[in-house]
Amino acid sequence: MPEPTLDVTGWTCPAPLRETPRIVMGHGGGGALSAELVQQIFAPAFGGDILAQLGDSAALTLGGVRLAFSTDSYVVRPLFFPGGSIGDLAVNGTVNDLAMSGARAAYLSCGFILEEGIETSVLARVAEAMGAAARVARVEVATGDTKVVEAGHGDGIYLNTAGIGLIPADVDLRPQRVVPGDVVIVSGDIGVHGVAIMSVREGLEFGVEIESDCAALGGLVETMLAVTPDLHALRDPTRGGLAAALNEIAAASGTGIALQERAVPIPPTVSNACAILGLDPMYVANEGKLVAFVPRAHADAVLDAMQAHPLGAGAAVIGEVVEAHPGMVVAHTALGGTRVVDLPVGEQLPRIC
């Protein structure tokens, strides 16, 4: 075999993609690309101090009443999956966004964008699922709209829901209130929803059926606020998973977050599926979990109250807020090393090996 000749001068790599002139899937991934769209396009175009707070929901005062107001769109495929459907997501997702402000959802709007050709029986099943989820969450669908697009221009059903709810007078949940010393609590197993969706979307079999954790968290939040109204911040770690939620809080509060990786509850089904796919459970979506930033003095009582609630039975302290590495999330690994848990850039991609 001839000797390889390596020219070590002038090794180069391709040009950077500094600008994306078109929308790519990563813009909807809840990571850095999503944040850029908001900061570079939407916030300058719309203006407004409330939008600039970039919360899951907006906290408003209208006629002397404190309201939380939120909207979210749902483009999930398939429409029905183990543990739920697009209808459940559309109710629970918006209810949860409101709950993260401490508000109990009162009313929802519902916008349907239907693709020509979809069976009305499918639509009826989605609507029934929405109705059932709304009854469980004790929220009323008060207004709605329907549009139809031509066949081939939609994925069967797209949904949008918006919601309003009252924020209790003594509750003030904002990332800016998070301070060093706060305890970080997650309400249960992470990554379940994302893996459940992947298992049906990609036709992957993981040996056991994994059901989505899709649930309305208003009741759990009420239970926590009953212990103390002085919770500092709540997040529901949906797109981008726990990692994105923690990074958002770290950035908005200017604090660091130190995680104990072994304390993060990850069920074996999720860790195994992620190991097979080369994904990190920290970045996988959840639909029935929250992460809470609680003053240390109240942490034990809040954790006990969460664990006594059906939707918080698996709650665990996963770390604390620190002065070090502001704006960054650092995980202390089981072996004693550290790693940065960064904001995902776009979509998490399965690794080749």
Binding site: L6, W11, C13, P14, P16, V24, L335, G336, L349, I352
Partner: protein, 374 residues
């Protein structure tokens, strides 16, 4: 998969680390060949736990990182064609070509799909007989057998609308290329366990003997890595240079004969360009003459692609372990995971992306200069 936890046991890890600390008396430079191993090392912070005398050099074993720009550009050109469904493993979609990536092609109307197996792409070909379906066959000896099997199936079942864009690479010639480079600092190799599970270990004794380097076949869980490092350091300290299998639960000396037979049938050895490194003789596979009809390059006539590379990125030196990522001028300034100049900053297995996070932590790994091999 319960056994995974057992290979991440902190107590056992501590014992292995203590042994490594007690054994290492001088600076040593070890290269972990595989990107999957790099990923585990970074994800678990293993490099921070080793003694300062033990330096890990991240090797060229990330298939995403070493796929040549020319091949990426060919993929982009093929994927942009309206008659094509282009299928790929997920992490190739963000790798920048000359002026775009596969995500961009998809946003411009290209039908680009992420699959988890090449056989999924074959299924898509069966379901879409009026479209050309191309699978992006990249990777080392690990991913080559299933890709070979897929082409074999396509030929056997006469599925004419399936083809493979091939950029497979082989580890042993890369080890040889690294060791013959004048600026090489590598004193031992952690060989990629999954590659050896396919190919066996026959190719390594000659390399170990010729270059007087220990080669320890190593797995991918934290304890696998620590055990591989422990055995490697012991050999270095004793002045030995043998091939050792620290991954016996997956690797047999003869590898996987069925997989090797499939590779021999479907592929033939060829010179292959490695991004950032250059062409290494006999370091790749292409489809053999019997299967040439299933070669996407041949089918779509994309032989004459003009690539354009800026000069700022030094990932080739990073891939050979000649510089650390933070020693590149572009690192962390014009080159970040958000705006990658090269694949080493794109891939989750890339050394630059991993170091970028360290840099943000204010941690710059400082290691002693490796001593010459005894």
């Amino acid at each position: 998969m319960k056994y995974i936890d057992e290979f991440q046991d902190p107590e056992l890890a501590r014992r292995l680390l203590d042994d490594i600390h007690a054994t290492a008396t001088r600076p040593w430079a070890l290269m972990e060949v595989c990107g999957g191993q790099t990923h585990t090392i970074i994800r678990h912070g293993i490099d921070q736990l080793l003694p300062d005398t033990v330096e890990l050099i991240h090797g060229p074993g990330c298939p995403v990182c070493v796929t040549p720009l020319e091949v990426i550009d060919k993929a982009l050109e093929i994927a942009a064609r309206p008659d094509v469904i282009f299928c790929s493993f997920g992490d190739m979609l963000r790798v920048p070509g000359t002026d775009r990536d596969l995500f961009r092609v998809r946003s411009e109307g290209g039908d680009v799909r992420v699959v988890y197996s090449p056989l999924d792409a074959l299924k898509i070909a069966r379901q879409n007989p009026d479209r050309e379906v191309v699978f992006f066959g990249i990777g080392f000896e690990t991913t080559a057998p299933p890709n070979a099997m897929t082409v074999y199936q396509a030929r056997k079942h006469r599925i004419p609308n399936f083809s493979l864009l091939v950029s497979h690479v082989r580890v042993p010639p890369a080890i040889e290329a690294i060791m013959t480079s004048p600026s090489c600092r590598v004193q031992a190799f952690l060989a990629a366990g999954h590659v050896c599970s396919v190919m066996g270990m026959d190719e390594y004794p000659a390399l170990a003997e010729r270059f007087r380097v220990p080669i320890v076949v190593t797995g991918f869980e934290p304890l696998d890595l620590l055990e591989g490092i422990r055995r490697t350091v012991r050999q270095l300290e004793r002045g030995e240079h043998t091939v050792d299998n620290a991954y016996p639960r997956a690797v047999r000396a003869g590898g996987n004969p069925a997989a090797r037979a499939m590779l021999d049938d479907v592929f033939e050895v060829t010179d292959r360009a490695w991004r950032g490194i250059g062409t290494i003789p006999d370091s790749g596979w292409r489809l053999s003459a019997r299967y040439r009809d299933f070669d996407a390059e041949h089918r779509f006539s994309v032989e004459n692609i003009a690539t354009r590379e800026p000069a700022a990125c030094r990932s080739g030196e990073v891939l050979q372990g000649q510089i650390k990522p933070h020693q590149c001028e572009a690192f962390g300034t014009t080159c970040t995971p958000r705006t990658p100049l090269g694949a080493t900053m794109v891939s989750s297995e890339g050394a630059c992306a991993a170091y970028y996070l360290y840099r943000r932590l204010g941690v710059t790994p400082t290691k002693l200069e490796a001593s010459p091999v005894a």
